[in-house]
């Protein structure tokens, strides 16, 4: 058995990942669902599907549609709730040795705090706050678009949770930097950027002599949002001192390098997991090869070079 060197080790200032390749919430299930395609424990970390205090059924209408350069989803945070997560999903993460962040969503500060407390009690090492889901009616996104609300939320969660805390920011704001600063000031260890963009698709068909329309509104993700994400990471990196976890349309090694150059310390692969369920593991390999082939000592040295 070969030993992977620690050249990909990624220090997020509070937690150390074996490599910077993570998978984004909502695209990777709760634990080892991608086991049929890759060795999930080889990834830097898996971010779980958003967990709320109580189970959520999600939305009833059409939930997904493909777009020119990605997809729109309106799942509505369907999830098993924190209790079932702790009892049924967490043991698998532990027994399979998967490093993970629990993504947490809520409608009120109290809900977030209760889940955070449960995570803390269960010794969960890392949490990602979802304050930016565009598909639920109350809470969530509202925290993500207002600096004061976000500061209040993150401060409250910080009191309940002693582990590593990253806040997932929405691009659907005028100044993502201000939200990043609010998260930092409230005690977040990192920020994750970006969540999906709000978007719509109108499906038009002509059936039995009539035009029929279906409008699907939700979060736009995938290839098409990468430039928006890179822009957000660049702006955030100038505004905050805490690490940035870059997310948005990543599919190739070049994308990973671009995010690192923009200032991301780690990245999350989202929609591309649907297209290529083995992509995250492949990116770990590709990044390792790139570093070795080009004579860098390790990822940290590559990062310095890319940010010169």
């Amino acid at each position: 058995m070969a030993v992977i060197t620690d050249i990909l080790q990624t220090d997020l200032n509070g937690i150390i990942l074996k490599n910077p390749i993570m998978t984004a919430s909502g695209t990777y299930g709760y634990n080892n669902e991608y086991d049929d395609f890759i060795n999930v424990s080889s990834l830097g970390a898996v971010v779980t599907k958003a967990i709320s205090l109580n189970p959520r059924e999600g939305n009833k209408h059409t939930r997904i549609t493909e777009t020119e350069a990605g997809m729109i989803n309106s799942i509505g945070l369907e999830n098993v709730g924190v209790e079932k997560f702790i009892n049924e999903k967490l043991p698998v993460l532990k027994s399979e040795n998967i490093d993970f962040f629990v993504n947490v969503a809520g409608s009120t500060i109290d809900e977030y705090c209760q889940v955070a407390k449960i995570c803390d009690d269960n010794n969960i090492k890392a949490m990602e706050l979802n304050v930016s889901c565009p598909n639920v009616k109350s809470g969530c996104l509202e925290f993500g678009v207002d600096e004061k609300s976000l500061y209040e939320l993150v401060s409250a969660v910080r009191k309940e949770y002693g582990g590593f805390l990253t806040v997932k920011l929405t691009p659907n704001v005028t100044s993502i930097e201000k939200l990043g600063i609010a998260a930092q000031n409230a005690g977040a260890n990192a920020v994750s950027a970006i969540n999906t963009l709000k978007g719509s698709k109108i499906k038009i068909s002509y059936i039995n002599g009539r035009v029929q329309k279906e409008i699907i509104t939700g979060g736009y993700s995938g290839r098409g949002i990468k430039p928006v994400a890179i822009g957000a990471v660049i702006r955030l990196s100038k505004a905050v001192d805490i690490p940035i976890i870059g997310i948005g349309g990543i599919e190739t090694l070049d994308d990973v390098l671009e995010f690192i150059a923009a200032g991301a310390e780690a990245v999350q692969i989202g929609t591309a997991n649907f297209t290529h369920p083995d992509i995250a593991q492949k990116l770990v390999q590709d990044l390792e090869k790139y570093i070795t082939d080009n004579g860098f000592k390790d990822l940290d040295e590559l990062k310095k070079e890319l940010r010169k």
Binding site: A2, D11, G14, G29, F37, N39, I64, M71, N97, D99
Partner: protein, 283 residues
């Protein structure tokens, strides 16, 4: 991962993964060999037009797979974000056949493939038909004939008596590669005239099946399920829905089903695509 070389960063919160101990990890390239993974490259063996609006593509897989009628594979279509799921039409050893109708960008790509082209496949995915040792009526409609044909071959192999009926719009739509016991066309250009749905009572009364399996447009599944229930017959329906992940994680393809007196979400890709007609909450 780190051993003594690791930077011993102390977290403000004391949080860290178990990175401080030496963990041996295999190179990713070696791990892929660990077990047969459900993602692989396969070669197009042949592709041909089998009706006015459908094609048959035969694919050579790199190894033999176990696949049940009603299960599906998902094909990566160059340039598209979402893979396209197809239920399997035929299966011999490492060769599978898919019947498809050109509907959009995904099927347009698949139609453009040539023999020896390499395609990227995941599968088999989902739950297929739960074959019972009971006299079976198989009802297909349009391209829904594909998994029914596969199911028929499975039933025949097991020596289970069955009748495979299928409805099409017209004669030109009937794939010439399929053996169907009884055909119905909306315009009467082949077989009996009218929708297969108009004949469901008659079929049940004369053939007297003990179970019904069906695949086709939503309205066909719904009507057959309701009819079967009137006769107290078990019916298994193969559902269809736009999918993203194909493995149950994204929750994009959920439908409502009845379970223990409650209505709950079920994913077509993982919990299905085959469901009991009696458990589906029909719209």
């Amino acid at each position: 991962m780190s051993g003594s070389k690791a930077k011993r960063m102390t977290s403000p919160n004391g949080a860290k993964f178990k990175t401080m101990r030496r963990v041996k990890l295999k190179k990713a390239s070696e791990m892929i060999q660990d077990k047969i993974k459900k993602i692989y490259k396969a070669k197009v063996a042949r592709i041909e037009k089998v009706s006015s609006n459908s094609h048959l593509i035969e694919i050579d897989l790199p190894f033999e797979i176990d696949i049940k009628a009603g299960q599906f594979i998902s094909i990566y279509c160059k340039g598209l974000t979402l893979r396209r799921p197809f239920s399997v039409y035929s299966h011999f050893g490492n060769k599978i056949g898919i019947l498809f109708k050109e509907r959009g960008a995904g099927t347009k790509y698949i139609k453009s493939l040539k023999p020896n082209d390499i395609i990227d496949i995941i599968g088999p995915l989902g739950n297929g038909f739960n074959i019972k040792n009971k006299k079976a009526l198989l009802v297909g409609a349009g391209i829904g004939a594909a998994p029914m044909a596969f199911l028929k071959s499975e039933l025949d192999k097991k020596g289970i008596e069955n009748l495979f009926v299928c409805g099409f719009l017209n004669k030109n739509e009937i794939p010439d590669c399929i053996n169907i016991d009884k055909i119905y066309t909306d315009d009467g250009s082949y077989g009996e005239e009218g929708s297969v749905l108009n004949y469901s009572d008659e079929l049940i009364n004369t053939y007297k099946p003990e179970i019904i399996y069906t695949c086709g447009p939503y309205i066909v599944l719904k009507t057959i399920a309701e009819t079967a229930q009137q006769y107290g017959l078990e019916v298994q329906v193969a559902m269809e829905k736009i999918m993203a992940c194909g493995i149950g994680v994204c929750r994009g393809c959920v439908i409502d089903i009845k379970k223990n007196g409650e209505i709950v979400n079920a994913t077509v890709c993982k919990d299905g695509p085959v469901f009991l007609g009696s458990e589906v909450v029909w719209q």
